[in-house]
């Protein structure tokens, strides 16, 4: 089930909210567990059993690992549980990719299995893996209540596209969490903003990309337009989803970790990856990079560690070679920045640092977008005018038309990708006359503006819901891009 669907917004969500808040405290987790399985069942009926199996594996492993403390069997149990979980992930997500690699390497003709990718498998498997490792490292206590553990893994707000919530982050809230109008209100606000980002911005850019990519004889402008539109689409799609997940979590009393921190304002790729998909970056850092030795090893081994982590990170995004290339691309840039580029960049004006970062990000997403490697090459050649052949005048006109048609949306999205609006509103909403040195008259105006803004929020949210619903009814919404991961 999509968050941006009528089924979810107008049936699943109100019914779940009513059931949850009517239920006494003891039954709230049961309501969430039931709702979460129903949510998953609605989109992936057959794969509910797979998720249940993964939950059972994680639950038993956690208890066994904890009980075997001091025993020599502890490590093998952890290894076995990780093998089971990663094998399931491998079979359902990567089997065909591996077969294709073998076929192309050895000229064999092994038939593809063509299993449908279970939605959210990468996210919930990573959560269970991190839980098992954390129990092994004695960083968290094993969960003995299977309903609570199942609820943690299957919790619908973050089940299918993150953020990747580690058990230690929410373990206390699973047992005891508080609810208040203020928390629920904040959650609603975050959810509605995320919904707008997804439906009004990301889906509009998605439409632009699909309209442009079918054009023939495209010139440089067209290729850049596609690349820029996709760069905006993927950010507003994924960060919108994360906002919705964090907002829904807040409504139900959970504090989920932030996943994005305005990545497009970064001044280097190193900074970009500190701001983009932060929970995934943290996961790979803690469970792959540091166990490999991190940067406290020889230079060669450090190169190796970085490239392994980024190749795996790319592969996590999808079972195709372009994702691996995309990951390694970032690995190489990060190595170069660490070695010398960062020092050079710091000497440049801020604008040039931002242009450098966004240029590499846009090129990165051009690789990311197309799974067919020949298409990737064509896209990159097209962006740099190296495609050759004739470009169509008519296609040029069409591209120019779409550039003009989407100009306002580009401006809105560029502003939206910066913290400007958030800072402005925070400044007004946090205004305290006693802390201000403004003259009395100005203080009164600021206080009046603050009060008006406070009471405009509910109106704004309802208006957002009306507009979002209008767009949803238009039927042009897309599935979330990160669903395929």
């Amino acid at each position: 089930m999509l968050f941006s669907s009528i089924t979810f917004l107008y049936y699943f969500l109100p019914l779940t909210l009513l059931a949850y808040f009517v239920m006494p405290r003891k039954g709230k987790n049961a309501v969430l567990l039931t709702a979460s399985f129903l949510f998953y069942f609605w989109g992936e009926p057959k794969y509910c059993f797979l998720m249940a199996g993964a939950i059972l594996t994680g639950y038993c492993s956690g208890i066994l690992i904890e009980r075997l403390k001091g025993s020599r069997y502890r490590k093998p149990v952890l290894a076995l549980s990780l093998c089971i979980l990663l094998l399931l992930l491998g079979i359902f997500k990567y089997l065909d990719f591996f077969i294709q690699c073998i076929n192309s390497a050895f000229g064999s003709k092994i038939a593809l299995v063509k299993l449908a990718l279970p939605i959210g498998i990468s996210f919930y498997m990573f959560q269970i893996v991190s839980y098992c490792i954390d129990v092994y490292r004695d960083e968290v206590k094993a969960e003995y209540n299977i309903l609570d553990f199942a609820m943690y893994v299957s919790l619908f707000p973050q089940l299918i596209a993150g953020p990747i919530v580690r058990y230690e982050t929410v373990s206390a809230e699973i047992k005891h969490r508080t609810h208040s109008f203020d928390k629920v209100s904040a959650g609603i606000g975050r959810f509605v903003i995320g919904l707008c980002k997804k439906v009004l911005i990301a889906d509009s850019f998605g439409l632009l990309v699909s309209q442009l990519e079918v054009l023939e004889g495209m010139g440089t402008l067209g290729y850049w337009l596609i690349a820029c539109a996709y760069t905006m689409q993927i950010y507003f799609d994924f960060s919108g989803y994360s906002d919705m997940a964090i907002g829904l979590g807040g409504i139900f009393g959970f504090t989920f970790p932030e996943n994005f921190n305005y990545p497009y304002i970064s001044r280097s790729i190193t900074e970009f990856w500190r701001r983009w998909h932060m929970t995934l970056g943290g996961w790979f850092r803690d469970y792959v990079y540091i166990p490999l030795g991190g940067n406290r090893v020889s230079l060669f081994k450090w190169f190796r560690n970085v490239l392994i982590v980024w190749a795996l990170s790319g592969l996590w995004h999808g079972a195709a070679m372009n994702f691996v290339i995309w990951g390694v691309y970032y690995g190489i840039i990060l190595i170069l920045e660490k070695l010398f580029l960062s020092k050079l960049l710091k000497r440049l004006p801020v604008v040039l640092q931002s242009i450098y970062t966004m240029l590499l990000v846009i090129i990165g997403f051009a690789v990311f977008r197309t799974e067919d490697l020949s298409q990737v090459l064509m896209q990159l050649k097209g962006m740099f005018g190296m495609l050759g052949g004739e470009t169509s005048v008519q296609t040029g006109r069409i591209c120019l038309y779409y550039l003009k048609s989407y100009a306002v949306l580009f401006v809105i999205s560029i502003i939206g990708a910066t913290p400007l609006i958030k800072m402005l509103f925070s400044k007004i909403l946090q205004f305290q006359p006693e802390d201000s040195k403004l003259p009395e008259g100005s203080k009164k105006i600021c206080m009046a503006a603050k009060t008006v803004l406070i009471y405009l929020k509910p109106v704004f949210y309802i208006l957002c819901m009306v507009v979002v619903t209008a767009y949803l009814l238009n039927g042009s919404f897309n599935a979330f891009l990160y669903f395929r991961f």
């Binding site: 009528i6 107008y10 109008f181 006109r397 603050k450 406070i454």
Partner: protein
């Protein structure tokens, strides 16, 4: 947190949940609709629940379609979406529709030279096969984009190229150019079609080119009959723009009133204009009953025994009643619904009939929708 913030938070929670619940309850309680008048389509009905459809996931997909179609106040939301897209996001088109000078247009820039060539070749074949002794003419009706697209920066067809292709593959036919006689005011604001009241001079040009005296149609007197004073055309409904509706008027006189129209699908005679269609899904269907495969108009007041065969699309429905005044019999063939072979077998035209292929650029570009093979 101050008192105002706490109050506002309460309002946010209550209003948000109330908003969701109102539409949930509305969706459950309101009766399902069968059709959408503005979109001119059937609406999805509730899917049947079964174990197999649930396990396969089909039930969930159908349920989402159903809930989208039957959402309370759906038409109002469609207008909100279109106007938000246009006035807030300032997108130049919404779902490929745009507004200019108060009229609604459909953005269409994908011209298929292959389709146009295919249509022209097949039209030539039809003429050669059935009308060896007759005269062949063709005329092309520009779509609305032709008049405003370039002016407002909207991409459109390469009309010169389209005419070149038609000329190249219909060498044995005489082209009757009507582009210069039309302007955007000759078309409905909310529909793709031209207005019958504005094309009398075009009918005259066509008839003159095919051998009638100049002025023979435009100099006749007509009575304007308002079929619908609040006509929402196809573009208006599909775009959901907040546009001004049209007046749908047809022209009649004693000659047209006396005409008998034989409908080969119904095997019955019908009137030239179908007044009851004015209240239907597409009021433009008042002209010759809308989408009909094969019609034959008999004119008892004809001043000659000439016969005309018109291969046409929906634009022809409003044009042919005017042209028919100059002929004893006019056969109308819509190749989207019948093959030329079958139509000729049924209608039995004279081999020396005048033949007119009259198509809009839109249909020529989508000639795959015609039964031409």
């Amino acid at each position: 947190m101050d008192r105002h913030q706490r109050n506002a938070n309460r309002i946010i929670v209550i209003s948000f949940i109330a908003f969701l619940c109102i539409f949930m309850v509305g969706g459950i309680l309101l009766e399902d609709k069968d059709t959408s008048a503005s979109e001119r389509r059937k609406l999805t009905q509730a899917p049947l629940l079964s174990g197999a459809t649930v396990i396969s996931g089909k039930y969930m997909g159908s349920m989402e379609d159903y809930l989208l179609d039957q959402f309370p106040g759906r038409d109002v939301f469609r207008v909100i979406m279109a106007e938000f897209d246009r006035n807030v996001l300032h997108k130049w088109d919404t779902n490929d529709y745009y507004m200019a000078d108060g009229a609604v247009f459909k953005l269409d820039y994908s011209m298929s030279e292959k389709n146009i060539q295919h249509a022209a070749e097949k039209f030539s074949d039809i003429f050669d096969k059935y009308f060896a002794e007759g005269n062949c003419y063709y005329s092309i009706i520009p779509d609305k984009n032709y008049f405003v697209g370039e002016k407002y920066g909207y991409p459109g067809y390469d009309y010169d190229r389209l005419l070149d292709i038609m000329g190249q593959y219909m060498k044995d036919s005489q082209y009757i150019d009507i582009f210069d006689m039309l302007d955007i005011d000759d078309y409905y604001l909310t529909d793709l079609h031209w207005m019958q009241t504005e094309i009398v001079d075009v009918a005259d040009r066509l008839a003159f080119a095919m051998g009638a005296a100049l002025g023979s149609i435009s100099e006749k007197e007509y009575e304007n009959v308002v079929a619908s004073s609040d006509f929402m055309g196809g573009y208006g409904g599909a775009s959901a723009f907040n546009s001004r509706n049209d007046e749908l008027v047809y022209l009649t006189n004693d000659i047209i009133s006396d005409m008998k129209v034989y409908d080969y699908e119904k095997n019955a005679y019908v009137s030239v204009y179908a007044d009851e269609k004015a209240e239907g899904i597409d009021p433009y269907d008042v002209y010759l009953w809308g989408a009909r495969a094969l019609l034959s108009i008999e004119n008892p007041n004809a001043i000659n025994d000439k016969e005309l065969v018109v291969f046409r699309d929906s634009f022809g429905s409003s044009m042919v009643p005017l042209l028919a005044q100059q002929y004893e019999r006019v056969i109308l063939v819509d190749l989207r619904y019948v093959t030329a072979d079958y139509a000729m077998t049924l209608a039995q035209p004279k081999p020396d009939s005048d033949v007119l292929f009259m198509y809009s650029t839109l249909l020529l570009n989508n000639s795959s929708s015609m039964k031409l093979n």
